[in-house]
């Protein structure tokens, strides 16, 4: 095994081009577990913690460009306003120690269906910026995952950043685990209201081979909100609308039975979380969060 320590981004890309089998390591919260448990013996470890630009984020009017190496703790502390859904999700990751090390870039790279950041990214709307010595491309997060622990990266590519839409309305994230802390998701759900575009987006974790959006549910709810004038009136949601949204969210799952939970429970729990998180976000919207901007 060789340990590569690029000092900057260009050097990292060059190293990855030269050693396409190199396994990138940032917080180590996935890679080191695999090495410690002898599940993986990469030829090269590519340490990205020295690449300073990866640990930075910058916000523009509409988006936050989140460096792939920004640890969860900083997201919780620094980006609560811009990225409330992701900050909530970040707060459910592992333990404080893990949140101090783990990164969204690492979460994407591991591409676990249970990755906590994924549903929040899907709901907020995000693009993954990946790069190689050949150039840079941006991949919508919903197109990033191709299967269980698989993604679209080419062997010479590295994740540089995630461009996440700044919240223009309330966002929520919920995750079911069988413990009150330090737990991998049995399933997770994120919802984001986007008053500016009058859309609703969702993200579901750990209930399908990849993180998924409940697109039908989004479209149904979007249409119902539009047609009913809810965005303007801020009226309470019709229970039948909520019910249908919940059904469609649960229907978007393709869960399995495993040691963490049953498929039937996952589907059920996603429905419950969909109802609750929609309730919380809509309540917040009615109370003014995101509406002022909308009315102005």
């Amino acid at each position: 095994m060789d340990f590569l320590r690029p000092a900057g981004w260009e050097e990292a890309l060059a190293a990855k081009a030269e050693h396409p089998t190199a396994v990138p390591i940032a917080g180590g919260t996935d890679v080191m577990v695999e090495i410690n448990f002898d599940h993986r013996r990469p030829e090269y470890l590519l340490d990205l913690t020295r690449v300073a630009e990866l640990a930075e984020w910058e916000a523009t009017d509409r988006t936050v460009r989140l460096g792939a190496g920004v640890p969860y703790t900083r997201i919780i502390e620094e980006l609560r306003t811009e990225l409330p859904g992701l900050a909530l999700a970040a707060h459910t990751v592992g333990s404080p120690q893990i949140r101090n090390r783990g990164t969204v870039g690492g979460n994407l790279g591991a591409a676990s269906p249970a990755g906590d950041a994924h549903p929040a990214l899907l709901a907020a709307g995000a693009e993954v910026e990946v790069a190689s010595v050949r150039g840079t491309r941006r991949i919508p997060v919903e197109e990033f995952f191709t299967g269980v622990k698989r993604h679209v990266l080419e062997p010479d590519e590295l994740i540089r950043a995630v461009h996440i839409r700044r919240a223009d309305g309330p966002q929520q994230f919920s995750k079911v685990g069988t413990r009150n802390a330090m737990v991998i998701a049995v399933c997770a759900f994120a919802v984001a209201l986007h008053p500016r575009t009058r859309t609703v987006r969702t993200g579901i974790g750990s209930a399908a081979p990849t993180p998924v959006r409940a697109r039908e549910a989004e479209e149904f709810l979007g249409a119902a909100l539009d047609e009913g004038g809810f965005w303007d009136s801020g009226a309470p949601l019709d229970p039948s609308v909520v019910r249908r949204f919940v059904e469609l969210c649960a229907g978007a799952c393709r869960p399995i039975d495993d040691v963490r939970g049953t498929a039937a429970y996952r589907r059920h729990a996603v429905g419950v979380m969909a109802r609750r998180t929609l309730g919380w976000t809509w309540e917040a919207y009615r109370e003014g969060e995101g509406r002022t901007a909308q009315c102005a």
Binding site: V176, N180, V186, Y265, R276
Partner: protein, 798 residues
């Protein structure tokens, strides 16, 4: 830094030798506390030795398979590899076991459980050892599986141990049953005919893991005399030695064990794990060998709590009197016997709980199967039964329309009661009082998540930081339970402990040295020993000798027995030393004061000999001079007898221990997530030798019971009998956010048979915690919940 690392002993072996003040009844701080908070306390995994090699174990990927061939050539060829051993390389004995020697040191032609050791490697780096193990070619042929009672006793069932000749073989109904213990008393059929209410239900307890934090580890150092020194984390040094010597082909005195720092035990260190492997490799290579399991391997390296299927039938009259209990308890012992026979004895004899029932028909069995071997874990057979009988007590109370606590109290045993085994309960048994106490405690505030008045604090809600509810569907429930646990080794076992006390003058001050082989596993036995020595000998300074096999056996740190037994041995040995002090004093100063002639009137206090009138007539320094007193004594509890194999009658247990719990839970009834809000306990401890440690034991035991109630289970695949969750990612134990406030009420009603009147403390709280939490969840959800751990899908029907 390696300068003082010599060849004879690991330089980093640091043990509790510090002196702290405090006598019996005081909350004396731990003598090893400073070492433990500074990181200097040497656990078995911390040991280091010059020229040390690392051992690694190759384990079976199958639960049941024939081994057709093993080829180690490629492993041996790897640079850095010093030895590879298989069954064929064993120098002497090939099997070991706590009671029945049925477990191979390394599998020969057959593996019987997933993870069974097949070969061992010694190399210069752990990674080299792992790579070498991966190069060992083993050809397996899978065999049909035995996974439950039906497959174990089917007409064509494969026999786990064909040709069994152990002492249970002749009385069991099938060779795949390790042991069977019935208990019969009264006339159940007649009682059933009189019952107004009958409740019959099936229950199930999942396989719990001890999940101590310090995985199995130790260091074996070959000695010049051809023997071996083993520095080890274990629960019982002498029983390890007695199993190791025949395997190593060495006389017992050439197998010397020294206790190293132990990172928790809870039963999981009763059986051998890496001990034999490290010693074999050390003797083979002539170099020190260290083996440290990682968490994954640890799940395969020790026995677990027996999973159980239980069927209970309770009958009662309308006024709330229990008439009879009929039950059948099937424990899955897995591939090897371990302590299954004793677990069966406990499960059977404690199967109806701390209640008076005249008519009893009980059968408990343990199976041999291809599931992971199961043996000792805190509570030892009593945990499984308690979950079932306490669920039954709630169910019968509900049928009768009685308050569940009142119903329990009406049937609770007290001193003078008779157990189903016919044994008289001859010391305090304050079962009703313990229940009264937990019930009388104030309730924790409702809706604590709104307490601050600000936004919802999700940390106080089910789901915690996962943000699943802001109060929606959260329902509170309250549940009660009480349990009974035996203390010490039962059923006629010659249970004793040994202590050596040396009293001498150092620097003008009398100093007592306490030397026992007691395994300090965290429980605080070392603290208690200093307190007892201080109390009995009236000295301030007490030091502790490292526990090793150079002194007589202390028995196991299990069965809630060490304060009773080794504490008793320390007391007993101190008494002998005191008698010798007084004899010498009488010899030298007898003429100076008439009280010397009446030693029963004298006590040792503050380094002085004091009369019952408070008069100082001598001092220890003067009496001892430069002649130390050094005495070793054995201590035995009163004898017990085996249970009759047909009726289960017999004076089987030494002492009983009782704990009651009240659990308050809040359940997200839609998602099936549980937050235990408070877990209150009341326990009779006879005498709290160290009140702080007593409460610590009750907290720890309660929390392990909570874990079994809502999250802890080793999941074994039905089709392959493979462990599916051997990691801390998927075997979950409670975090600080899962563990509630735990008020504790301690009663001290002396047992006159026991030293200081004390009662073993460690296990009882583990029993009633689980059923109390589950009862509270039932109260919140209305669901029957016949299985633990309760999973979210059990609460949502999903």
């Amino acid at each position: 830094m390696a300068a003082d690392r010599t060849a004879s002993a690991p330089a980093t072996l640091t043990q509790a030798t510090g002196a702290t003040r405090g006598t019996v009844g005081e909350s004396t701080p731990r003598p090893d506390g400073t070492l433990k908070v500074t990181g200097e306390f040497a656990y078995s995994s911390d040991l280091w030795h010059e020229d040390m090699l690392w051992g690694f174990t190759l384990r079976s990927p199958y639960a049941h398979a024939a081994i057709r061939s093993v080829d180690t050539a490629e492993a041996l060829a790897l640079p850095g590899v010093y030895a590879v051993m298989t069954h064929d390389d064993l120098p002497a004995g090939t099997h070991y076991g706590l009671e029945i020697h049925d477990q191979p040191v390394l599998a020969k032609d057959r593996v019987r459980f997933h993870g069974e050791p097949v070969a061992i490697v010694a190399a210069d780096h752990p990674e080299t050892a792992r790579r070498a193990a991966a190069r060992i070619a083993v050809e397996y042929e899978e065999l049909p599986l035995v996974v439950d009672e039906a497959t174990a006793t089917a007409p064509d069932a494969p026999l786990l141990h064909p040709g069994r000749r152990d002492h249970h073989a002749s009385h069991v109904p099938h060779p795949n049953i390790v042991h069977r213990q019935p208990i019969r008393r009264g006339d159940v059929a007649a009682a059933r005919a009189r019952a107004d209410v009958v409740v019959r239900r099936d229950y199930e307890v999942g396989m719990q893991d001890q999940a101590f934090l310090g995985p199995e580890s130790g260091l074996a150092v070959p000695a010049e005399d051809g023997g071996v020194d083993l520095y080890i984390a274990t629960q019982w040094l002498h029983v390890d030695r007695d199993q190791l010597a025949p395997v190593l082909g060495l006389p017992a005195d050439k197998v010397r064990l020294t206790l190293s720092g132990v990172g928790g035990a809870f039963g999981a260190r009763e059986d051998l794990s890496m001990q034999a492997h490290a010693c074999l490799l050390a003797l083979r290579t002539g170099r020190p060998v260290k083996i440290v399991y990682n968490r994954y391997e640890s799940f395969f390296g020790h026995v677990h709590r027996h999973p159980a299927k239980l069927t209970y039938e309770h009958g009662a009259t309308r006024d709330g009197t229990l008439l009879y209990v009929q039950c059948r308890i099937v424990l899955d012992g897995g591939a090897y016997a371990s302590s299954s026979p004793a677990v069966v004895g406990n499960a059977a004899s404690l199967s109806i709980g701390p209640y008076v029932v005249g008519n009893v028909d009980v059968e408990a069995i343990a199976l041999y199967s291809n599931n992971p071997p199961c043996g000792a874990m805190r509570g030892f057979g009593a945990v499984q039964a308690c979950f079932a009988y306490e669920a039954q007590m709630d169910a019968v109370a509900a049928e009768l329309g009685l308050d569940p606590v009142e119903f329990r109290q009406r049937n609770a045993m007290s001193q003078g009661a008779t157990m189903p085994t016919g044994q008289l309960v001859d010391s305090p048994a304050p079962v009703a009082e313990l229940l009264r106490r937990v019930k009388a405690l104030p309730m924790p505030p409702e809706r604590d998540w709104e307490a601050a008045g600000g936004p919802v604090d999700v940390r106080a809600l089910p789901g915690g930081l996962s943000n699943t509810t802001h109060g929606e569907a959260v329902v509170r429930g309250v549940g009660y339970a009480v349990g009974i646990k035996n203390v010490g080794f039962s059923e006629g076992f010659d249970d004793y402990s040994t202590a050596r006390i040396r009293l001498e003058v150092i620097g003008g001050e009398p100093v007592a040295l306490v030397h026992t082989a007691m395994a300090e596993v965290g429980q605080g036995g070392v603290t208690v020993h200093t307190q007892i020595a201080r109390t009995e000998l009236g000295v301030d300074r007490v030091t502790l000798h490292p526990a090793d096999t150079r002194v007589g056996s202390a028995g196991s740190t299990s069965a809630s027995r060490q304060t009773y037994m080794t504490g008793g041995a320390v007391k007993h040995a101190c008494e002998a030393v005191r008698a010798e002090v007084l004899r010498r004093g009488r010899e030298r100063f007898g003429a100076s004061h008439p009280a010397w002639a009446e030693p029963e009137r004298l006590r040792l206090e503050d380094g002085k000999v004091v009369t019952d009138g408070g008069e100082v007539i001598g001092d220890l320094a003067g009496i001892l001079g430069d002649e130390a007193i050094d005495l070793e004594r054995e201590f035995r509890h009163r004898p017990t007898e085996p249970f009759d194999l047909r009726t289960g009658q017999g004076f089987g247990h030494v002492q009983y221990s009782f704990c009651a719990h009240r659990a308050v839970v809040e359940v997200d009834t839609e998602l099936g997530l549980v937050k235990v809000v408070e877990l209150a306990a009341a326990q009779d401890v006879g005498k709290a030798i160290n009140p702080l440690s007593v409460v610590g034991q009750i907290h720890g035991g309660s929390t392990q019971g909570l874990g079994l109630a809502v999250m802890e289970e080793i999941v074994v695949s039905r089709d392959g009998a493979r462990v599916r969750n051997p990691s801390f990612t998927d075997y979950l134990i409670p975090t600080i956010l899962d563990t509630p406030a735990m008020p504790v009420e301690v009663l001290e009603l002396a047992d006159d048979n026991a030293p200081y009147g004390l009662r073993g403390v460690g296990e009882a709280p583990t029993l009633s915690s689980t059923p109390a939490v589950v009862a509270a969840i039932r109260a919140a959800t209305g669901r029957p919940l016949k299985r633990v751990p309760v999973r979210p899908e059990h609460l949502t029907g999903g």
